[in-house]
Each structure stands twice: as C-alpha cells, then as structure tokens.
Symmetry: D2
Subunit: 196 residues, 4 copies
C-alpha cells in the first residue's frame, strides 16, 4: 500500500512544508486564493496521483500555515497544471503558486535572468472564449501557452496576467518540493528586501 515512492513523497512534502511555514516573507507572497504545493507521482495521469496540501496554505497570525495535511487528490488546478507541463518536461513533478503583481513580475524577470532560469508570462486575454468557459479544456491551452512563451520548454517561473474573474498568480516548478520550497523562500526574502 505505502510504496517507496509514496513514502518519499510524503517525506519531501513535510520537510518542504516546514520550510514554507518558517518563512514569514513567504506569507506575504500568498495570494487571495491561497497557495498550494503539489507533487506528482512519476507516472501521474490524474489529480488523484498528485499529492497536495488539503485546504491549501493560508496565513495565520502573519505566518504561512497549512490548514490540512498532504493528501493525494487534494488539489485540482495546480495538480492538473503540473500534469500538463510534464507532457513536455517529465522532470517537472512539483509546483507552488504564489502572488503576482506588476512590481513582483518585473523583479522576478530580472531575478530569473540572474539565476539563468527561464521565465514566461501568458496573457489569458488571448485564450479563446470557447476554451475559457470550460475549466477542463482550459488547462491544456494554458500549459501550451506557457511552454510556447518560454520558447518550447517548461520555464522555472511563470505567471498569467489576470483574466476577468481570475486572480493572477505566479508559479514556480521543479523536480521535487524541498528544492522549490527553498527557492521560493529565498525569492520571498530577497524580494522583501527590495520593498522595505
């Protein structure tokens, strides 16, 4: 039942969660829709194969707090996004979404340039109306747009500018959650330094 892959996945998620919950600066990057952190099995086909934080990560007393536990199937949007992206780059198995503002996007673009990370923006105004109405159809379009915007690969960080009725969010992806938790905590700390 609990195979070696699942054991490793739960372990990495818990350690990553500790990193996120210890970062007050990350708390300031949690969007209105709250953040989630997802981690897909190597063979993930559906959201049931993707571990995520049940109840998402919110902010309590100024600090990030996972409301529930990691659970397979606990994410819909982020889980399906990672599944789509993996069709192009199977090394991508984990992701975290976070806030997006024009100031942060501009800063992230230069931060990614310094790091040598691919960075991309997609404009959901370009999304066909027929697709936007249907949440399921929307994800393949979005993943394809992200990859196209990054020149055919999955970028390390990307964001979408806001559509009507949708809060814009940024996303960071990577092979597993401990690494991206450290990366986003560092981003939050460095960005915070520029805005004090």
């Amino acid at each position: 039942m609990a195979d070696a892959e699942e054991i490793e996945m739960f372990g990495r998620m818990m350690i990553a969660l500790d990193i996120l919950e210890s970062s007050q600066e990350f708390g300031r990057m949690i969007p209105e829709v709250r953040s989630n952190m997802v981690y897909a099995k190597a063979s993930a086909k559906t959201r049931a194969d993707v571990l995520a934080i049940d109840g998402r990560i919110t902010v309590v007393s100024g600090m990030p707090r996972a409301c529930g536990r990691p659970r397979f199937g606990a994410s819909s949007h982020m889980a399906r996004l990672v599944i789509e992206l993996r069709k192009t780059d199977p090394s991508v198995r984990a992701g975290i979404d976070f806030a997006n503002t024009p100031e942060l996007s501009a800063w992230l673009e230069s931060y990614c340039a310094r790091k040598g990370w691919a960075f991309a923006m997609i404009n959901r105004a370009g999304e066909p109306e027929s697709i936007r109405a249907e949440e399921e159809a929307s994800m393949p379009w979005k993943a394809a747009a992200v990859i196209r915007a990054a020149g055919g690969r999955v970028p390390k960080i990307f964001y979408e500018n806001g559509a009507v009725g949708k809060e814009p969010v940024s996303v960071i992806v990577g092979p597993e959650p401990i690494g991206i938790a450290r990366e986003i905590a560092e981003i939050a700390r460095e960005y915070r330094g520029t805005t004090r």
Copy 2:
C-alpha cells in the same frame, strides 16, 4: 480588558463557526479566495474593531474548516466592507462572503424574492479606473454602489460581477454571525438540492 461586548462577540463567532463547519454544503460554496466571517463592534471604525477568522475558512477533507481562531483585525477586505455599509445601516454588523456563479446568482435572486430580502448586483466594470487602482479608495465606491443598486438601503445579499483579476464573490450580511451562519447554511442546503 475583556468587556461584555467582546465576550459576546467571541461567543457568537464560535457558535456561528460550529454551524458553518458542520455544513458540507457550505463547503461547496467557499470561493477560491476562501470565505471569511466578520463581526464588527457597535462602534467599529477600523478593521482592528472587527472580529474575523484568522486564516479564513477553507475546505479540508470536503468540510469547511477555520484555519485559525477569531481575532480582531484578522480581516481586511470584508472588515472594511462592513464598516462602510454600517454608515448607511448601523444594524449591519456581520457578514460572510461566499462563491458566485451565474447559476447561483439567478437562484439567489429568486430565493431572496421568496424571503422578502433585498438583493443586489454591482458591476465593477462601472468602477472608475482611478478608484480601482487604489484598494483603500475602492471600498467606499463599492459600498455606495451596493446601496444604490438596492435602492438606498443595505441589501441582505449582494454580489459583484468579476472585474479583471478579481474573483466574483457573494456576500450575506446581518446583525450578528449566528443568524447569518444559519441563513447561509440553509441557502447552501437548498441550492445544493437544486443542483444534484
């Protein structure tokens, strides 16, 4: 320190929270931005005078779950909305925000008609650009638009249709939280019955 008003406010919030957390159907009405429940002091002037759920109310294992505790100052948006509305109707001290879809809005309109409750919609597309950019300035405009749309009074339920980058939400208000928790739980149950 803990005066009679604060004691009563914490008590009503906890009982209201029990009602919300026991309603699986309400869980289906929690928007992406999560719900909050707020309760303003009779003399509330700023968000520090408004009790709210720290970390908002999210969904864990399919049930509504308050991530943190009631705390004065824990809400920004909903707290300021209630403070603005009270300038017109001081009997309004509590509110809960919940999901909004075209189907739910249509159903709510006829539900409110049955109940004899005022119901209103505001269109944030009508909001002047100069105001929209400034979150602080936005709230008085929004409250005024809600009251104008309801013919000069504070409606029982209202919603805004989505602006760019903003998830549309519905709001129910009333004099104290136990009553509106019961009302929203009944709404969730009845609406759920129509969509099964």
Copy 3:
C-alpha cells in the same frame, strides 16, 4: 438554541484560551495528562452541561495549544469535579488542572497564603479501596475530601498527592475562566521566576 448563557460561556472560554496559549510559562505547568479548562452552566447537573476543551490543552513547539475547540461534554474528570464542588459552593463554575510537584506545592501554599486564598491537599491514600476502584464513586469522595481539608469550603487551589497509577495534579477554581486563566498565568510566571 444558542441562548445568552451559552454565548457568554463560549466567549469567556475563547478569551481565556488566548490567555493560556500566550503563556509559555503555563506550558511548563501542563502535566503528563494534559490540562483541561472547564466551565459549567449555572444549572449544570451532568458533564453535558460543562464546556471544556476537546482534546485538552497540550504543548506544541513549547507553547500551550488547545488541540480542539470548546465543546459541551468534552471533559469527564474535571467536569464532574466542578459539578461536585458546586454542591457546596455554587459560585464555583470553572476550573483548570495543572502539574503538581513537591516543590510547586510548597511554593503554592505560601503563594496562596500571601493572596489570602484557601489552599488544600488531599491524600488519596486515605481513599477507601471500595471507592477507588469505581471512577464514578470516586469523585464525590474526592470533592468531600477537598472541602473537608479546607475547613468546609471550596479552596481556591488544591492538589491530591499521587495514588498508584494516577499522576498527581493541582486544580485552580473560580467563577469563570478568564479570571482563572489570568491567575494561573500569573502563578506560572511567578513560579518560573523562582526556579530559573
């Protein structure tokens, strides 16, 4: 359903809980069996009429933490103890149990003398074997022993020295929880000062 007494009781419990959870020193006074805080209705006859912390108050990351919420019926032992004591002194409606060591007991005795509070110890070695075996029968014996030890009244603070298989605990009682939360937080702070 939610009458004025219940609203006030939940409100006082939440404010008292905030006081306890903010006291690191109280965390050092939580016994192995964990602390509970109970609050009986004015007409309480059974444990169902007594509000208590579901899951008791434990220590997480060095700070006191209520695991669950206040709930009627959530305590057995402390609830029945307060119900028995109220037969002699109906003004006693609330109580908190905490650790007991010989050093603390000696300190508490002189602290109570300074405060003008009645203080008592009961020796469960004096409890008849026939009673000890039966948890239900044990409580009236215990309450009577406490009251007898304090000269016919309910003492402010009392403790039992340990029986076989029972961790000794101290208890502080009073008319409502905010007051005793402040009292135990002050005790914890002052006692901590003497043991550094």
Copy 4:
C-alpha cells in the same frame, strides 16, 4: 540538510499517522497521558535523533488527532525508551504507547501468544527508590527490566504496572512506524470487538 534517511522517516511517520487518525478504536486506547509515536534514526544517540509527534496524539470529537507535526526531539520519555531498547535490539526503531488496564493486559497476553509475539510485564514496585526518583536513571533500569522479563530480548509488546503517581501504559515496538500503526489499529479493532 534533508538527507534520504530523514525524508523516509517523515514519510513513514505521516502515513502511520493517517492510519492512527483513521482508527476510532485506537482513540479508545489513548491513555490519560496521551499517546506518542516515535521513530529513531539508525544512529540515534539522544532524543534529538528521534522523530515524534509534537504535542502527542490526543482525542478530538472521538477520533485520534495529532496536535502538532512530527518533529525531531518532540518526545522525551518514549524517545529515551526506544534508545535504551535499541542497545539490545538495534532493529527496534519505532514505538507507540497506549492504554493499560488489567482486562486489556490479559487480552494482549493471549493475543501475543496467538501472534507468536514476545510479551512482558514489568513491576515498577521492584524499582529501587534511588533510581525511581531520578527520571534519567529510571530509563535504563526500565529497559533492562523489560528485556529481562522477556527472557533477554526486546518484546513486541510490554507494559508496566502502575507506580505511585504514574499512569500505567502499554508499548508496542517495531522497526518502523507504518507497521506498528497497522498492528495497533488491528489490536484496537479486535479488542473493541471483545468488549462491546
């Protein structure tokens, strides 16, 4: 920082915790002092090398609930017990403590016989007074007594009968937490069947 052993340990603890928290019957086996579940590193020398549930496992709304998260160093008593036992049997790395009553002990003895598991009881009345007073000195004595009672090996399940001021508890040990969580959940289910 997060090495492969720690990742696996956190993963196994989380999966084990899910098993425990899903077992209502286990909830009825949680003692007054609450249960903990510990998991020692292969090279564990001190409690800082032992993962445990911060705040222990309590009962909320009738179900087992871990109050905090797994954290290295979160247990004192159970951590030191496992470290002592490992000096005789290094394969023992995990343990859970649970309730003890004369009825349960009698049932466990025959259950262990059926399973072919070593089972032992120690009598703390036999513990020298000089040792009992000193918590640190007490653990090696206790571990030695357990091993002696089981004929020179570490038994699968053991208990101590109560000393003055100490609640008697039972302990189950094994190589890692998922296995013992399943074992104790099965024990709780089967024992519950006999007492309905």
